[in-house]
Symmetry: C3
Subunit: 272 residues, 3 copies
């Protein structure tokens, strides 16, 4: 049963999907390198005049709001529409939604204009979006909600049903759901939250897996988060004591060495 997730990494190495990113300048380098490390091929292109050209030749498109601006928002929409028409899966990472009106409006715009395949965010972002018809709820959610995987499953399922897509919530326990089936992943390490870009890199890995097996978005997303979580555990063992810099290097090492056997042996997941 686990193999349907863990075997997918081999498809990336065989197919080398081209993953188009419209992303932020803070973690773009990490995203490009993690995409290469897992075996896919990244292309970052956010000009309005080429966003749809590139999206059409890509195997997956990752839209990340990290440093969104007036110039790149229309590019996201153009890339998203072109990808949608071409049947290319779209991963949306609504970084920081809830923190400014611009981010809230942009997330809503993307969700209205673009047919998302996988939405990936932390619990605050997913909670905010799941409550966008009633924004107060999102803002008022308690600390208890954040730590509780059962609650994360409920929130993620609700959003997945609303948007008719796969929703991934990253955290101490990751949750992946298509609204019907929900998988919880217990792999990972707290040091991942001490590095910038680990959330963005999850979205790049999801793009890499979805690009390889575009008809298996739920399984692809589980495999991507397993890869990141297990790489985090390995990196902690190898270099956690030394500090954040060495941990980061070891994380990229571990992703580049990841294979289906390691995933199989170390995966800790259950259906919720």
């Amino acid at each position: 049963m686990m193999e349907k997730y863990t075997k997918l990494i081999e498809q990336i190495r065989i197919r080398k999907p081209l993953v188009h990113h419209i992303t932020n300048y803070v973690t773009a380098n990490d995203c490009a390198n993690i995409t290469l490390a897992i075996g896919a091929s990244p292309i970052m292109a956010d000009a309005q005049r080429e966003a749809s050209d590139i999206a059409r030749i890509a195997s997956a498109v990752v839209l990340n709001m990290g440093t969104l601006n007036e110039r790149t928002i229309p590019s996201m929409i153009k890339a998203g529409k072109a990808a949608g028409e071409a049947g290319v899966p779209i991963i949306f990472d609504p970084v920081g939604v809830g923190a400014s009106r611009l981010r809230n409006e942009t997330a809503n715009l993307v969700l209205e204009e673009v047919r998302i395949g996988v939405l990936c965010g932390n619990i605050s972002e997913v909670r905010f979006l799941s409550g966008r018809q009633s924004k107060t709820k999102g803002v008022d959610a308690s600390e208890h909600d954040i730590q509780n995987p059962e609650n994360a499953v409920l929130i993620a399922k609700s959003l997945a049903a609303q948007l008719d897509c796969v929703v991934a919530v990253t955290g101490a326990v990751d949750v992946v759901t298509d609204g019907k089936r929900s998988i919880c992943i217990e792999n990972g390490h707290i040091m991942l939250s001490n590095l910038t870009g680990t959330g963005c890199m999850c979205s790049s890995l999801i793009g890499s897996f979805c690009g390889a097996v575009p008809n298996m978005l739920l399984e692809a997303t589980v495999a991507a988060l397993l890869s990141m979580g297990i790489a985090g555990e390995i990196a902690h063992t190898e270099a956690g004591q030394q500090g954040n810099g060495s941990f980061r290097t070891a994380l990229h090492d571990a992703v580049s060495r990841m294979d289906s056997d390691t995933l199989m042996r170390r995966a800790k997941l259950y259906e919720a």
Copy 2:
């Protein structure tokens, strides 16, 4: 007496200040990671439509001119004004001022429109700004000025008095002054100048400390430069022989492991 600086790092770990950066795309990743390594929380957001929203919820705002452009200059002014109204301390890093008319005009604009808490630059930048009423002087300053900490103190004090803020000059000996008290820091290592972004990372650390103790900008700035200088020494010992890549990794390691005891034990500073 030293403890008033070295204890401040504990306040960052307790308060986890949110540090809003409007910065360059060359070193943004380093700045985000060093902010996390010292225990604070970075947010990079430079869209004009959200700059003031984010600045208002931040504990400190860092404005860095590294790759300034027509789109981000108005964002710096908006963020700076919003932060000023909300009592959020503002750190200004006038990267490359003196190298182009655009940089000179932008630095002047920021200094006129925004109430800076800490200005941080290298000696060329600080010298240029201190002589902005008489620009020739700045340009004509000799190599001797650059190497001489006593001269750096005089230039920094003059600029601090002009701007009524804390001025930090990074170099072989760092100088921090509010125009009255001046502290010289002898920690650091020449290899720091062989990496891009060590100046920008100093500004991020200053933002992290100032965000934690906004009523102690002078002390916070000293603590930030101590942290960077001592981390540079540790990184050199651990990895300097191997080269620039390993030194960089070790620098991030050392900042993430930094604590008040290490600062206390290794600090080399004196009042000028």
Copy 3:
């Protein structure tokens, strides 16, 4: 005979040329750090209002299309024209040309408006540009062409003659030609293609060498690609087993420790 290439690295360390980059936000940090590692000084500045000011004071200008956009394309032209008038050598890296109409049009614009000193790309990019009068040929070139250094020499020589500049093709075997003399470099390691930015870093190294010896563009370009290739071999020996993260760190280490003796001892090149 080899010394005319390998000795040039000493000129970088003596002259510390300022290398102006208008480049992409994915690999800008790598480019700045590799420029420092080889002994030159990077400046990234892409605002339209300062592009020509900075280009005029630089020793070399690197134009890289990686994440080109509506704002930076005019900056490239301005910087290129100012550099041309000032006799500053210009390195052009047409990243991704062939992948979108915007990239094709921009590459053509740069080649028409700017006097390029060195064009550096992979075989797909160089092939595309060499066939721009007859685009079909470029698109139809076979896999066999790509792997065959003799073919790469022919394509590069043709483009060098068309543009009257040095053309460098990076790949398993690198080719450098001014249309008359052609040098093939067999150094390098396949792991270099698993990291983002190794092509961009080659352009930064070419800029560093050309900035140091602007009258020897062919030799400077050979020396730059030798440095990268040999650093890749050293990095593989030191850290290749560990994975992509450690390889990257070791690559920066090796460039920062590179010297003329190492280049002399390890260079594998021949005239084609």
